[in-house]
Amino acid sequence: MQVDEPVLLPRLSRVAVCGGTHGNELSGVYLVREMLKTEKRKVDGEPASVLMVLSNPRAMQQCSRYVDTDLNRCFTHATLNGPVSEEAPYEIFRARELNALLGPKGSRAAVDLICDLHNTTANMGLSFIAYSDCDWICLHIFRYLQKQMPDTPMRFIHFDVSTKESYSLDSIGKHGFAMEIGPQPHGCVKSNIYTAMKEGVQHMQDWIRCFNSGCVFDGGPVDVFTMVKNVDYPRDGETRSITAAIHPRLQDRDFCLLHPGEPLFQAFSGETIKYKGNEPLYAFFINECAYYEKGIALSLARKKRVTVPSIRVQTDEEERASEQSFASEEEE
């Protein structure tokens, strides 16, 4: 086999775009609403079936992140399949509904790809967040967006969480990622952020159409940021209220390389609190509003270069051929 033979991957027949997983992250809410209004099929290439979903309508109605509990933490196997009482939080029921619609998670019936739309108050530009650093579909979509939207700062973030422990909506699909765009205050829609999200989703749909119709996508390098740890705010020992804010020299500098000894927080007393880690790490999710209650002031990541192979859709014939050869291997 030649080294540069493209990796063959099954077609993406069913794709879902979800907005309003957090009810106050408005770019996704308005974009999905708009897409539901003007649903079109492109004629060139075979149409992919795209499901538009408003994930948490009750939270959207109150314009809050969630009603009882964070929906985007409710998609672990345990939460989806375990016993549930009638008094369980609304989001647990909603997660099960979404799992029935888009999954079931881990089964052959699950949708091929989920793109879950989010906003952040952090200055993160357009970020993909995925559980894998070797899901070639997600990485190729990312590469394609980078090329099509060169003026938009774009990063790929990898949360190294096993399939068993994965907890977010995008983990229901066979492939999935969150498209996180900021900075945007919760409860607000900023036109530049909305437009970036709209373009990102459109380019993703173009890529999928192209992929399904047999295009070969050349491989190449992608920088991946793998989450290492979270850092909480300094807090008062008794009351647990925060006693410092993100340092002005770090505020808005998502994806900068933070070196040991550099400013991290500024205490209300004026004192500078420095980063005391052993290694330089990349900071992101700097001052995300929703993370105060989760005890996260910022997250830290290592960066590495991943080489993405070239890929092409696996035709039906190729799929049959590979199944047959697999079956005959088993016989031997």
């Binding site: 409860g187 900023k190 036109s191 437009t195 804010a245 509003c289």
Partner: protein
């Protein structure tokens, strides 16, 4: 005698010394600069102490602060109407109406001689308004002189004055309980977020405000001055469909351009499918509160203002 009155040939308005001052934080529970400052000062008030002055930091809406929401039942900063303040019903009343009555008892009664002299009400906005002082009356020479002092002390950094005297658009704020209500609005800051630069700016303008009161109480005379203000004209809502849903966003040319001129024909909104909607007014206005998250439900995308110069008479302690 709490109102200014001229009683000498120089038309210097005399006011009683301002002895009782309050600093309100958390009127909106998710506007974090004020919440943080008031919590800090309730623990340790050294920074805000001034001789001869009683300064009380106070969290006006503790339930909203705890939940980190703007309000629990109804907007506290619209709740201080005469109707609400005299309503009966005790525990059955909406939480914020009960709070308004309590605050009126502690710091008012509104309109009476016993009311606090000055209340500073600390707010944040998602709009790019920078540091803004909010004035409720163009005739309050004491407040005008204070704002003039703060602007000069804060310079070269900018601190602008928004005047809301509009009969239909003005509202009954928590600070309106005092003889001299002063709103302090600093942005942009997302709800629920504490930004160090925004927090420090609010801290500094409040320090200048307290310095002014201190100087005034010591007998300093402040000569006549003029103050540039932006007077609220009109509230502009988002374009909506027949069901009341928003169908356009603040245009990228207008986003973050608080206080900059908006001319007839300039882009104002952008629909979700990319079309521009232009300002149809007959003259240039100065928009502010552009894209404040809390105002989506109040049908307000921004307010228009016009620039005016107000004259304030000299003032001195009575």
């Amino acid at each position: 005698m709490s109102n200014g009155s001229s009683n000498n040939n120089n038309n210097t308005a005399r006011f009683d010394a301002a002895r009782r001052v309050a600093i309100f934080g958390g009127t909106h529970g998710n506007e974090m600069s004020g919440v943080t400052l008031v919590n800090l000062w309730m623990q340790n008030s050294a920074e805000i102490q001034r001789k001869g002055l009683e300064i009380k930091p106070f969290l006006t809406n503790p339930k909203a602060v705890e939940k980190c929401v703007r309000y629990v039942d109804t907007d506290l900063n619209r709740a201080f109407t005469q109707e609400n303040l005299s309503a009966t019903g005790g525990d059955e009343l909406p939480y914020e109406v009960q709070r308004a009555q309590e605050i009126n008892r502690m710091f008012g009664p509104k309109g009476s001689a016993e009311a606090y002299d000055v209340i500073f009400d600390l707010h944040n906005t998602t709009s790019n308004m920078g540091c803004t002082l909010i004035l409720e009356s163009s005739k309050d020479a004491f407040n005008l002189q204070m704002m003039n002092y703060i602007k000069k002390a804060f310079a070269p950094a900018s601190c602008l004055v928004l005047l809301n005297e509009h009969p239909l658009l003005k509202y009954s704020t928590s600070r309106s309980v005092a003889k001299h209500p002063v709103g302090m609005e600093v942005g942009p800051q997302p709800q629920g977020v504490l930004r160090s630069n925004i927090f420090e700016a609010m801290r500094v303008i409040l320090k200048h405000a307290l310095d002014f009161i201190s100087l005034f109480n010591e007998g300093m005379e402040f000569p006549p001055c003029t103050v540039e203000v932006f007077r609220v004209l009109e509230r502009m809502d988002y374009p909506r469909d027949a069901n009341g849903n928003i169908i356009a966003m603040v245009h990228p040319n207008l986003q973050d351009c608080d206080w900059e001129p908006l001319n007839p024909g300039d882009p104002m909104f952008q629909t979700f499918d990319g079309k521009s909607i232009h300002y149809q007014g007959s003259s240039t206005v100065y928009p502010t509160f552009i894209n404040e998250a809390a105002y989506y439900e109040k049908q307000q995308a921004f307010v228009t203002t016009r620039r005016e110069t107000l004259a304030a008479s000299a003032i001195r302690k009575a």
